[in-house]
């Protein structure tokens, strides 16, 4: 079997970021909690590879620790989306055409009417800004994505012979959904999970940038960009590197998603979006 190039490149990018985040627990070039005003806004050099920020903190170290925030938020948000959305979608498919199906799907439409930034704004109004806020907002936004996907995929499976056989054998809807349908839609869910992961990283950065997500002193790529904004003409490197980190990480995840899709279903390759 030939592995798609996009999968190899994308996975490599993603693994590098995951590794940097993990290493940051044990070691970073500098301590991100220590401010050193005399060293502030230094351009990249041998001592500070990516320069320092307005408080003299090492940007490379900040990016490593910030990767943790981004990855943790995105994983938790995908977890919420899958954990709630997939059972709902499977349930709706098992009761297709019924009242429950209708209620679940209209509920999805309702969530779709709230862009994630609006959910985040409402939660912030309710509970104040925090990183949990970002997780919840992105997670809620992910629910209808997974519910629709799993409902659609499950619907086409319910008319297949092997499901009929299971029904004839007397298995209930929950049993069939868990044992026969879920394994057959797992590929789709993994691909979508990768894509929602990258969306989560972008949205977390945006929420933290406007102050609705991660709060100082927790380093986050979005917050670093917010700090860099007013200083961009004096210290453009402060804005350049966190942005590049987001781009490379998101690009890697998207390439990985494309690659996984090609791997699971080569027929889709031509018309892929």
């Amino acid at each position: 079997m030939r592995w798609p190039v996009s999968l190899i490149v994308g996975a490599a990018f993603s693994v590098v970021f995951a590794a940097l985040a993990l290493i940051s627990f044990l070691w970073t070039p500098y301590d991100v909690d220590v401010l050193s005003i005399p060293d502030r806004m230094q351009a990249p050099s041998g001592a500070h590879w990516l320069g320092t920020d307005h408080l003299g903190r090492d940007i490379a170290s900040m990016l490593m620790v910030g990767a943790r925030t981004s990855i943790a938020v995105a994983i938790a948000a995908v977890g919420i989306g899958m954990g709630v959305g997939v059972p709902l979608g499977l349930w709706a498919a098992a009761r297709r055409g019924g009242l429950l199906d209708e209620v679940i799907m209209r509920g999805n439409d309702l969530i779709f009417a709230f862009p994630s930034i609006l959910i985040a704004i409402l939660i912030t109004a309710l509970a104040g800004p925090s990183v949990w806020n970002a997780i919840l907002a992105i997670g809620i936004f992910n629910i209808p994505v997974f519910a629709r996907l799993s409902r659609g995929a499950a619907l086409s499976l319910w008319s297949r012979e092997f499901i009929m056989a299971a029904r004839v054998a007397g298995k209930g809807a929950v049993h069939i959904s868990a044992e026969h349908i879920l394994p057959n839609i797992a590929n789709l869910l993994i691909v979508q999970g990768t894509i929602q992961f990258s969306v989560g990283i972008l949205v977390e950065a945006a929420l933290s940038y406007v102050g609705l997500g991660a709060q100082p002193p927790l380093p986050s790529w979005g917050r670093m960009l917010a700090d860099a904004q007013t200083l961009i003409s004096i210290a453009p490197h402060m804005a350049l590197f966190p942005g590049l980190a987001i781009v490379i990480c998101v690009l890697g995840l998207n390439l990985m998603g494309d690659g996984l899709r090609d791997l699971f279903d080569p027929k889709l390759k031509q018309g892929r979006v």
Partner: protein
């Protein structure tokens, strides 16, 4: 028994969609009201400051209608919304409708400007990639759009400001002068609109490409070619027209992304739009403004989605089922 005419079917379909639109709006209004109203923090106490007398706070609560039951307040609010009365801002002491009305003239043109830009960029490059499938142009477009999707628009916006406003001084770096001078107004919205349009154009170009590739593979395209129609004629008359269906959906969906995205981008450019109003209102606990603005945004998302559905039913008879 006569079969229902297709006109009836369209009406039934639109009727059902309309009912679901109204239901969505009602539930959304209950949700928004519920979330905001159970919030800790008394707007009356906030308005009067920490040294206020309890009697004064109580009097103001009465005046603001905060002492009525939750249900009465909900119906007051919704009843007001229906006639365009969004209530009175707690901090600005002016009607919320007035506040929102001022700000919408920044946010809405910005979202529309971005939508036009996104479409104008996406169509040609998407079509080019589809027609040159597998070629250099196709790989170039696919690579660039992959990058465009990954770039956070607010980060892109910062560098647009650095290059086009600070270095070259072609566009203003931020702020908005109003529409008295339409050219200056448009100049002020150009960089934000470009930043907003970038990821959307990338997504749209990829949808355009895949939709066109799919239709070009259809049998009727081969038939049209076999009948002697030119390649160009087939692309214009048959392929593009049919490829537009998925493309139109995405354009409809993008409008809501652009409105929401405008909330973030307004922060980069210090634009006095709905987004900045929302953030100010949240920090000042001016909850009635938050309620009104969020409801309006949700309303526009739902209505645009409905309009796209309606356009479909008219274009594609298969969807009227």
């Amino acid at each position: 028994m006569r079969a229902p005419r297709s006109g009836d079917q369209v009406l039934i379909y639109l009727g059902r969609r309309f009912v679901s639109l109204c239901l969505t709006l009602v539930v959304a209004s209950i949700l928004i009201f519920g979330i905001i109203e159970v919030l800790p923090g008394d707007p009356a106490a906030f308005m009067l400051g920490i040294n206020a007398q309890p009697e004064a706070v109580e009097a103001l609560r009465d005046q603001l209608g905060l002492n009525q039951s939750l249900i009465a307040r909900y119906f007051d609010w919704v009843g007001g919304l229906l006639i365009g009365d969004f209530g009175q801002s707690y901090t600005y002491r002016v009607p919320v409708a007035e506040l929102i009305g001022d700000r919408i003239w920044v946010s809405l043109p910005l979202a529309l400007y971005a939508l036009v830009l996104s479409t104008a960029i996406a169509f040609p490059i998407g079509i080019l990639a589809a027609l040159r499938r597998g070629g250099v142009a196709d790989y170039g477009v696919m690579g660039l759009t992959q990058l465009g999707i990954a770039i956070p628009n607010f980060w892109f916006a910062m560098f647009l400001v650095l290059i086009f406003a600070i270095q070259w001084r072609i566009f203003p770096a931020g702020g908005f002068v109003g529409w008295e001078d339409p050219v200056a107004g448009l100049m002020g919205l150009t960089l934000p609109a470009i930043a907003l349009a970038l990821p959307q154009a990338s997504i749209l170009a990829r949808i355009m490409r895949s939709a066109l590739i799919e239709t070009l593979d259809e049998d009727y395209i081969r038939t049209a070619r076999a009948k002697g129609q030119s390649r160009r004629g087939v692309i214009w008359h048959h392929a593009l027209r049919n490829a537009m269906i998925p493309v139109l959906t995405i354009i409809g969906l993008q409008f809501s992304f652009l409105l929401a995205g405008a909330i973030i981008i307004e922060n980069v450019f210090y634009l006095p739009g709905l987004g900045r109003l929302l953030f100010q209102a949240i920090t000042q606990r001016d909850l009635i403004v938050v309620e009104g603005a969020v409801m309006l945004l949700v309303f526009s998302v739902v209505v645009v989605t409905f309009a796209v559905d309606m356009a479909y039913a008219l274009v594609d008879p298969r969807l009227r089922r």
